[in-house]
Symmetry: C2
Subunit: 400 residues, 2 copies
């Protein structure tokens, strides 16, 4: 499945030998004894955390792989959700987890060999506590009273999940886009815990353009007349603002080449335009509207605010190296594979190469591949064959 | 002044010998006898049209230069508005016309030699009739009852203005961005009327990505709770939607390089973040907010819908060459100068080169310059020195 939610052609049904089959999400309360102190101030305790696992942990407890999901993703990486809840019922009916092509028996992340874990990030709306969760102290949804969370907090939260699962040592931590930021932060915050690190379509910070797009998306949500300062759960939701944010973001996930190839200037179901300002004329518009309409059914506007803000704040060089990226890179002990895609302009290859160069300068073991692709930022989920081969090869040599 | 409304450093005050000085907008009713039949159907008569002129028409009436303005521009190209009206009072107080660096005595478009004309396009909110004008039949603002207009209609409207001014023959027609589209259309629709054609940062169509951004901008306006199907002139206006549209568009006018250079990750007036979801953290955000807030004071949301839609629809190859660009290009008789900017991703150099190639194939006289610049689409208004030299040189040889 691509970021845009379209099922890929090679879907494995649950009874396929390469599918992990029917899966159930799991939930655990973390930080029951000691609260999670947050970078931005404040703390959270009894942090309900949704996660999934696939494959079996070996007796040495050393075959775990930790996957981090992207901005609008969740812990449901592979297989078919046996009991989807709420808004996800419709969404998950016809599709497996978001990286099903990559995770399963005999797949690149081979669940016959690895114990695969994915935990939903703090602030999300997919099971882990976030602004749409009920605050037990008030019996109302948190809304904007939920504390601001950062990539650093996410890393400590994921580490607590690993602790709970008894995973002191992890073969590989990996993620794409926002998930790549969290993977990098984990390798920086817990350098001895991760043998391998794979970062796809991500970097040590977002670009200035990325900051700008996130700011516009948030402003669209904040100025939606239904936003009500984030306290909208008992009334109409700020769907217009969230839709606009998603449509704009969707453009940044694609490329002019892929959109031109897929849609060009084709009109939607007609040979000549209707000359309408309010209706749909072009296939391109119809696609964006469809993306937005399905997205707002499954995502929470407040979560969009929290997660994009956390991406904005992340600056690994500032946090770990006093602004010097090579000093940051020197902290990493994991063997690292960095993958960028030629047409990705959200996390462009030039940005990815900054971290690779810094690791080289710091004499850290890093491999870098820039995959020629027309699919833009989405490529990390679309260029399945190339990504599969890279991850498979990396995990094979990593285990030596 | 750049597209983003910031005055450049070399502003000429009205008493400067290179300024055209204080100027007054002029208005004329066109299509009084025969209505303007519109491409999308319907017609308009008694079309109130705002324009400005600078310099003197010579006795042969052959020294005219026609300038077309961009999406949010107007007929006030040069000099200082002696009597700004309504919302423009504040906006125009401290700055001359939008291309003052280029137009004036001894400037690139030398008003000692040329009679310079610029007419505001149909559908705009700057004097020419548009959705915010009062429909004399109803005594109410047109709103969405204003007919859909196209680039073809704009060209015929501009030609009628030339007719009114008695200008059968024009030395050069030129424009940037949307203005470049209109200039191209004029050279196609009236091939013998224009001796020269200069297109800056524009092309024979918008990209698919351009269609997409325009669609998101319009959706933000259409879903603003104050939009009221375009009938908002007596109540609160859809400023939030218009602001979001403008902020997003503003990103497409710049480049990652220019934004990175100007703003990077700098925080706004502080050394460490406030960790706020609703407030401003980064300079980049503050800039976009400022852009949006000043834009919504001077622009009409309905006009934004009409003008972006017209840009979407324009496809010179489909209209003039049965889809074949070389056949379209063969129609052009004007000596042509095409200028693109290396970092422009709204009208990227590759797109500009399509028209240049087609003109070469059709053996039409075309020169092409791709100016290395980090300023993105804005470059056509920012790279003043390079653009000045090109236009000056072109007009000098054009007059031979």
């Amino acid at each position: 499945m691509s970021v845009d939610g379209e099922p890929s052609k090679d879907i494995h049904r649950p009874d396929h030998p390469s599918s992990v089959g029917w899966v159930a999400h799991q939930r655990v309360e973390l930080f029951n004894d000691n609260p999670l102190n947050l970078e931005a101030g404040g703390s959270l305790s009894s942090v309900i955390t949704e996660y999934e696992t696939y494959g079996l942990l070996n007796s040495k407890r050393n075959n775990a792989v930790l996957i981090l999901h992207a901005l609008t993703g969740d812990a449901h990486v592979a297989g078919w959700d046996s009991a989807p809840e709420g808004d996800l019922r419709e969404y998950r009916k016809f599709k497996p987890g978001w990286w099903d092509q990559m995770v399963g028996p005999s797949k690149a992340i081979d669940t016959d060999r690895f114990f695969v874990v994915c935990g939903n990030v703090l602030g999300s709306c997919y099971g882990t506590v976030g602004p749409s969760s009920v605050n037990p102290k008030t019996n109302k949804a948190w809304g904007l009273s939920f504390p601001v969370v950062t990539v650093g907090d996410w890393a400590r939260h994921q580490a607590a999940l690993l602790d709970y699962l008894g995973l002191d040592y992890v073969q590989c931590v990996l993620g794409g886009s926002m998930g790549g930021q969290v993977a990098l932060e984990l390798a920086l915050a817990y350098p001895e815990r991760f043998k391998g690190l794979i970062i796809l379509s991500a970097g040590h910070r977002v670009t200035t353009q990325g900051l700008a797009f996130n700011a516009v998306g948030r402003r669209a949500i904040l100025t939606d007349s239904n936003f009500n300062n984030g306290d909208y759960y008992d009334g109409p939701r700020p769907l217009s603002g969230l839709a606009a944010a998603r449509m704009m973001a969707q453009i940044t996930y694609l490329s002019e080449e892929s959109m031109g190839h897929k849609f060009g200037r084709r009109l939607r179901g007609k040979d000549s335009p209707d000359f309408t300002l309010t209706g749909v004329e072009f296939e391109m518009e119809s696609y964006l509207n469809h993306q937005a309409d399905s997205f707002v059914k499954r995502y929470d506007a407040n979560s969009y605010l929290y997660l994009t803000r956390a991406m904005d704040y992340y600056d690994a060089a500032a946090k770990w190296g006093g602004g010097i990226l090579a000093e940051t890179a020197a902290i990493i002990q994991a063997r690292t594979l960095m993958v960028s895609f030629s047409s990705d302009w959200l996390f462009p290859p030039d940005l990815c190469r900054e971290l690779v160069s810094a690791m080289c300068l710091a004499r850290r073991p890093v491999s870098y591949v820039n995959i020629p692709s027309r699919y833009g930022h989405d490529a990390f989920l679309v260029e399945t064959e190339q990504v599969r081969r890279l991850i498979h090869g990396f995990l094979a040599t990593n285990a030596l």
